[in-house]
Structures are given as C-alpha cells and as structure tokens.
C-alpha cells in the first residue's frame, strides 16, 4: 500500500513535472520534433544520434545521423549505422545497407524495408562504442511523410454579386512517389493559404480528394497557397509544396456590360433622332396624308383671314370698295400658292335676243367654256396649267385670280347679309358697271369673257373670291342631260308629283333659270323675287349646263330685263300646297320655312310663262357683280 501510494505519488509528481515542461515545449513550433529529439538525445554532451528517419513511400526509408558534440566522429566512416529488424526473436544487428556519407544518411531500399516490423537504429564508432537509444525504434508505417503534391493550380469558380469576393477551386496531383493507385498508401491533403506578406496561414479541413474549394477570397488581394499531405489515420505530415499565388482583379465583365448598355442607349437615341428628323423634314407631306386640307372659302382678292368667322365687317368693307385694293383689280392676290383654286369668272355677253334655240350656248355653257355656236369669249384663263375639274360641271374650269372683277366684288357686297348700309354702295357699284351696255358681265378686264346662262333658278354651290358665284347646273340642263347629282338636294324638299306636269316642265326647262331661293327672312337665301332680280340679265333658259352665276342687277338699270324677268317663269307661291306639286326635278323655289323648319317650296309650274318670255331677260345679262345675295339685299332688289 505504501509502495503503491509512493509510486502513485511519484508518478503523479512526474506527471506534474511533465505537464509543466510540456507547456513550454508546446509554445515552440518544433514541439513534436523536440519531443522526438529529447527521446533520442541524452542530457550532457551530445552523443552521436539519429536526427530523423523518414519514409516517403512506405517502401523505402532513410535515416540521418549527426555526431553531436563528438566532432572527432564527424568524418565519414567514423560512425557506422546498425539496425535491428525485429521480425523474429533471433534477429541480429545488421549494418546499413547503403551509406550516403555526404548527407550522413543511411538508405534502406525496398528489399530491406518491411512494414509493420519494428526497426531499431544504432550508431557504432570504430572502437565499438555503441550509441543506442531506445527511442530510435520505429515501424515504417509510422515514419511515413509523403512528398508534397504536385501540379497545384487554381480556377475561378464564381464572383459574389457584390463583386468584392470570389471562390476558387484548387486542384493538384498526388505525389508521384506515393503509390496511391495500388492502394498501398491512402493520403489526405491539407491546403493552407494566406494573404501575401502576412504571417498566419489559414488551414482548410483535411480531405482525401485532389481538389478543394477556397471560399471568400477578396478581389484585388494576392493570396499564397500551398499544400501538404499525410497518410490517412497517421500523424506525420510531409513537406509543403511550392506556393502558388492567386489574385483576381476587378472584373471586366461589368465594364463590358456597361459598355454594351451604353452602346445600346446611344443607338436608340440616334434612331430616335433620325426618325424625328425624317418626320420634321417630311412634315408637310405627312400632314397632307394625315390631315388633308379642307378648302376654305376663297374670294378673289380678299384675304382669307377675313373670311373667317367674325370678320364680316371687314369683308363688307372690302367688298364695298373700301380699304386697300378691296375687290379691285389691284387687290392683292392671296391665293398664289394655291394653283388649284379656281374662280369662275363671269363676263357680260352681247345679248342675243332670240330664240332660245339661237342661244343654244347658254350662259352656263359659255361660263363653262363649252364649245358654243355663238362666238363668245370664253374665259378659259387659268392661273396655271392645272385645271381643277369640277364635279358639277363635268368640265374643268379655270380661273385667273389675278384679275378680280369689280362686278363680282360688287355683287358680293350686295350679297352679304345684314348690311343694309352697304347696299347703296353695292348698288352704286352695280350701277357702275364698266360696260353697262354689255349684257355679259365682264369677269376679267380685257380677258376672255364668259357669260352665264341666266336661268332663273340655280343653286349656288360656291362663291369665288372674285365674287363669282358658282352655280350648279340648271334644271333644264339636268332634265335634258338626265344626269344630275343635285337632284337629290331638291328632292329633299320637294315631293314631285310627276305626271301631268311634264309638259309644263318642259316648258319650264326652257324658260326657267334655276335658282334656289329661300325666304329672305330665313337663313339668308334669296327669295324668289330677289332671285328674279338677280337673274334678270341671265334670263335665257338655255340648256346650259354647269354653272350659272347670278348677277344681282339693279332694278332701275334694267327695267326691261326685269320686266321680262317678271314674266320669267318664276314661281310665286300662292299657297304652300302648290309647292308639293312642283314638277321640278332638281330645283324649286323655297317659299318659306315653316315652323318645323321644313322648306315650303313653290310648284314650278304655276306660273309658266310663255316660253319666249324668259329668254331675253336671261340673255340680257348685265354686268353684275357675282357674289352672295343676302335676303336683305334681295329685298331691296325686288321690284
């Protein structure tokens, strides 16, 4: 008991001593080696001893020795190596099979190497002094330190989305000396890395595969990586391999994507600018295609600005002859850039008082420039070569806007509604026709002249800047030609009880001068009586086609005409009922507008005068201005 207690106490003391000493040894990096050393060396003068025995492939091994402090034994051959291989109880010490004196190394080749069998090493001097340490016994598998792996290299795995860190895959080959393929050695590897110029290595977990990932390296920093290996389930590592350096700088791919986006943006902007330029350069064409211009009212010689809404005063002023130029010949031309604009001019024609057959070339025809038996000047002047075909006439008619007709201006003045004070001036103007003896209204001074077919009834389809009123073809023309587009207009207002009144119609055809007249108190159309006055000059019911212009004529100047006109087959409505039986296909006279805003028309056949009657007045067309006729004006013009 006492012995055991003492032994236990001594062992515990020894244990304590060893613990304390081991703490010191642990702090030094070569702790394991020193431990081994302490096992191999004695305390006082350093005997010759073995420094290390290492096997690299578990098939051979080497041992190095040192003479210690016995320098006299340092010469080669002074010390001899002996080993004991304890494979049998009767084993003996043998000398080193192969010396390498330059290294003080003893090499044991394959034939002399056995695994799992204890070897003991011993140094002997020439005088048979043996230096042997019990600690110098080992088994080969326990002294294996594999060579470092070879072919160490790395590949970039990925980069973090922030672009600050990246992962790297490191791969290598096992050491060629280790027979891993036969399975004789199983090796596990340890990677260590550190930032360049730092001292602490980061060690990754040991694993037996020949590749490993290093995570979380920082962009821009340079890293040093090396590797070592050891046998599986053993403790001794081989040496480190040579270091490789890993560095990844800023990623250029971001720049390339940035450049790509920049290029795309600029390309898109350039294309947009190109499109805008094309649109701007072809603006007019595009506007023409998308928004075709609507013809605006145009009167020859009058600024189209005045024709807009609300400027009636100025227009009246101009038409009445005031202001600069007005409707005179020297009025500025406002429509130079619109060559397609046409203004039908009306000329006063030498009256051919005769049969209507003699006047086959009605005013309308003349107006339209059709070939006529009577040689009349036709106004075929055009401002340019382009003739604008008129739908109603079926024939192109041109107009030279440079020569406004004073008469037309006057007519316009008179035709303007609600301007009673201008009527005098209008009448004055009317009374000052340049050629009163001329039955035709001169639309152009000195130019070819046209005269209109002074049918009484006509539809005003347009008003020219010069003052000429564009009329639709008369009923005679329509009935004779049996084609009309304007029939529907009149038929809207008229219920035609055709039948027994055809004969009357025929008469009326010849006689009548179609004029769509409306009650002057109404919307501004002329009344029948007013229309009569208007149409006094052109009284011949010529089967003219196309347009007929209305010339308001003073009652005083043309009494004869008016007288004849009075006998014109105008229809004076006696009763609204008669209107319903108007045989007029195209035109009729609107007497009044009843309460429901329906037009009450006059039957055209009521007052069919002798056929010869209307001719002279129609033919005796005075030079009258062409233009609008307002109810007020017509009221004054009525006889």
């Amino acid at each position: 008991m006492a012995a055991s207690s003492s032994s236990s106490s001594s062992s515990s003391n020894l244990l304590l001593l060893l613990l304390i000493s081991s703490l010191d040894w642990l702090s030094t990096p070569g702790f394991a080696f020193l431990m081994a050393r302490d096992h191999m060396t004695s305390s006082a003068p350093l005997e010759p001893h073995f420094t290390e025995c290492i096997s690299r492939d578990q098939e051979t091994f080497r041992c190095w020795w040192s003479p210690g402090s016995f320098h006299n034994l340092s010469s080669p051959g002074a010390l001899r190596v002996f080993y004991l291989k304890k494979d049998s109880p009767t084993s003996k010490w043998k000398e080193c099979p192969e010396y390498i004196h330059s290294n003080r190394e003893c090499f044991f080749d394959v034939n002399h190497t056995s695994v799992w069998i204890p070897y003991c090493m011993q140094l002997r001097s020439k005088n048979n002094v043996t230096y042997f340490n019990e600690d110098d016994c080992f088994t080969v598998e326990n002294i294996v330190r594999p060579d470092p792996p070879v072919s160490l290299n790395w590949t970039l795995l990925n980069i973090s989305p922030s672009g600050l860190s990246y992962d790297v895959m490191v791969n290598w080959e096992p050491p060629p000396s280790a027979d891993v393929e036969a399975g004789w050695m199983r090796i596990e590897y340890e990677i260590q890395y550190r930032e360049r110029n730092t001292t602490n290595w980061e060690a990754l977990e040991m694993q037996p595969h020949t590749q490993q990932t290093i995570y979380g390296l920082n962009i821009g920093k340079e890293y040093e990586v090396h590797i070592r290996c050891r046998m599986l389930a053993f403790t001794k590592f081989g040496e480190f391999s040579d270091s490789i350096f890993i560095q990844v700088t800023e990623i250029p791919s971001k720049e390339s994507t940035f450049l790509l986006t920049l290029v795309l943006v600029f390309g898109a902007v350039g294309i947009l600018i190109l499109i805008v330029l094309i649109v701007v350069s072809q603006q007019h064409r595009l506007m023409m295609i998308l928004l075709p211009p609507v013809p605006a009212p145009k009167i020859k010689g009058i600024d189209p600005e005045l024709l807009k809404k609300g400027k009636l005063d100025e227009l009246n002023f101009i038409l009445s002859g005031g202001g600069m130029g007005g409707l005179s010949t020297y009025a500025p031309d406002f429509y130079q850039d619109e060559p397609w604009v046409e203004f039908i001019e009306v000329d006063a024609e030498d009256a051919d008082a005769g049969e209507k057959e003699d006047n086959q070339s009605s005013d309308t025809q003349r107006l339209l420039g059709l070939p006529q038996p009577v040689s009349h000047h036709m106004n075929i002047g055009c401002s340019n070569a382009i003739s604008f075909p008129d739908n109603d006439s079926g024939r192109a008619s041109c107009y030279d806007p440079d020569l406004p007709n004073q008469d037309t201006l006057m007519l316009m003045a008179t035709l303007l509604p609600g301007q009673p004070e201008d009527e005098e001036a209008a009448f004055d103007l009317v009374e000052r026709p340049p050629a009163p003896e001329r039955p035709l209204v001169q639309t152009q001074t000195g130019g070819p002249q046209t005269w209109i077919n002074t049918d009484f009834y006509a539809q005003v389809s347009n008003v020219m800047p010069s003052g000429g009123v564009v009329l639709s073809p008369g009923q005679q023309l329509r009935i004779q030609e049996s084609t009309s587009a304007t029939e529907e207009e009149t038929q809207q207002n008229v219920k035609e009880p055709k039948g027994g009144e055809d004969t009357e119609e025929k008469k009326l055809k010849e006689l009548r001068f179609q004029l769509l007249v409306v009650d002057p108190e109404g919307s501004g159309y002329t009344t029948e009586s007013n229309a009569r006055k208007i149409s006094t000059p052109p009284s011949s019911p010529m089967p003219g086609d196309g347009y007929q212009t209305i010339h308001p004529q003073p009652v005083e100047t043309k009494p004869a005409a008016t007288a004849e006109d009075n006998q014109s087959p105008y229809i004076l409505p006696d009763s609204p009922q008669t209107q319903l039986f108007a045989p007029v296909a195209d035109y009729t006279v609107v007497q009044e507008v009843d309460s429901q805003h329906s037009l009450l028309l006059n039957p055209p056949s009521r007052q069919s005068p002798p056929p010869c009657l209307p001719q002279p007045p129609l033919k005796a067309l005075p030079a009258m201005p062409i233009g609008y006729i307002t109810p007020d004006l017509l009221g004054n013009l009525s006889p």
């Binding site: 060893l18 394959v110 695994v115 088994t139 036969a182 599986l232």
Partner: protein
C-alpha cells in the same frame, strides 16, 4: 424481488436486441437475392469493406494516441511490444502482398480479423470495469465500437470472398475460417488471464492498431488487383 428480476430481464432483453441489431450491420445485404432486395455487386462489397477497414483503423489510431497522450509513456516501447498475432505470417511489403495472390491474401485478412474478436471484447470489458480512471470510461465506448466493427468487417470480408468464389475470381482454397481455428489458444494466453491492466490495454491497442493497418492495406491491394478499374 420479482420486480427487480423483471427489470433485469427486460434490460437483458433490450441488450440482446441491441446487440443483435448492431451485429446486423449498418445496411443489410441480401446474400441470397431475395425479392425486393438489391444484391450488391463485388465493387459495392469492396467499397463497404474498405470503408469499414478505414474506420476500424481510424478508431484504433485514435484510441492508441489518446492512450499515449494520457499516460505519457516515458519509454518508447515499440520494439518491446509483443502482439499475439505475431505468429500469423503476413506480407511485409507491397510486393510480397501482391505476390502471394488473392487467395492467400484473403485468408490472411480473415485470420487477422478473426484473431481480434475476443481480445477486443475482453479489452472492452476490462476497460469498462476499470473504475479508477475516467479515461477508461471514455474509451471503453470506443473499444466496444471497435469490437463491433471488427465483427462486421469479418463478416463482410467472408461474404466478399464467397462472392469472389462465385465469380471465379477466387480459388476454392479459401475455406471458411472459424475464429477458433485461427488463433491458437497459446497465443491468447500471451496475455494475462483474468484482468488486464492499463499496460495490457496499451499493448493491445498498439497491436490492434498495427493489425488494422495491415488489414486496411491488404484489402486495398486485394481490391486493386481484383478490380483495377475502380479508383485505384
């Protein structure tokens, strides 16, 4: 008393079941090709066996190193240890292992494994009964684990040998090796009868570590000579 006996019986029952389940192994192998059971190939068997041998060697190395650290042996007793398996002739290097052929190699493996079954269980019992040291309590579990691994490995190698015989890779010279025939009782009496002290433990662990390394290497050489295309 009845209650205690009942509890003891229950405990014994659970222990027996536990031991049986542990002996079955980590994964059942269908040796006879039963329906619904995946019959492992020779490569699979090799893989399992080699894994087990690596594990066995790893645990034995850990145990041995812990022993050495705990006890701080003042001497290096490498040359002085004697193991009871020294009588088994084993190839000492790679060429010899490759030279003796598959049949002999397999036989050596089986001998080695068979000779360690009993000593390891004895070691476990001895370590678990040693109440003076905490280390024994901690490492007795590992000793138990090692003994189980050895048993499994021996069964696995036997199955693998049977498969190799079936495939004609292995000659018929390798018969079933019973553990009793492997280890003569004289060698087992190498150790003290009865209680084993810690030095005996240490010796046993050292010897077992060496032998497990042998088994591991032999198995790997066997695999690479039989199926060289697989990971060799």
């Amino acid at each position: 008393m009845s209650q205690s006996s009942k509890s003891v019986a229950l405990l014994l029952l659970t222990l027996v079941l536990l031991e049986l389940s542990m002996r079955v192994g980590t994964a059942p192998i269908c040796a006879h090709g039963q329906a619904g059971c995946h019959v492992p190939s020779l490569a699979d068997l090799f893989d399992r066996v080699i894994q087990q041998s690596s594990r066995m060697h790893g645990i034995s190395s850990d145990l041995h190193s812990e022993f050495e650290q705990y006890f701080f042996p003042s001497k290096n007793l490498v040359g002085k240890r004697k193991c009871h398996t020294n009588g088994i002739l084993t190839p000492d290097d790679k060429e010899n292992a490759q030279r003796i052929g598959r049949e002999q190699l397999t036989e050596v493996i089986l001998r080695l494994l068979g000779s360690w079954g009993d000593p390891l269980s004895q070691l476990y019992h001895s370590m678990s009964q040693d109440q003076n040291q905490d280390f024994n309590h901690y490492s007795s579990n590992k000793a138990l684990e090692i003994s189980d691994v050895v048993h499994e490995l021996r069964d696995g190698v036997a199955k693998m040998a049977e498969k190799m015989k079936l495939l004609g890779v292995l000659g018929n010279t390798v018969g079933y090796i019973s553990p009793e025939s492997l280890v003569p009782s004289s060698t087992f009496s190498f150790y003290k009868q009865g209680e084993l002290n810690s030095m005996d433990h240490h010796d046993l662990l050292y010897c077992f570590r060496r032998d497990s390394n042998k088994v591991k290497n032999y198995l790997r050489i066997l695999k690479c000579t039989t199926l060289p295309e697989l990971d060799c």
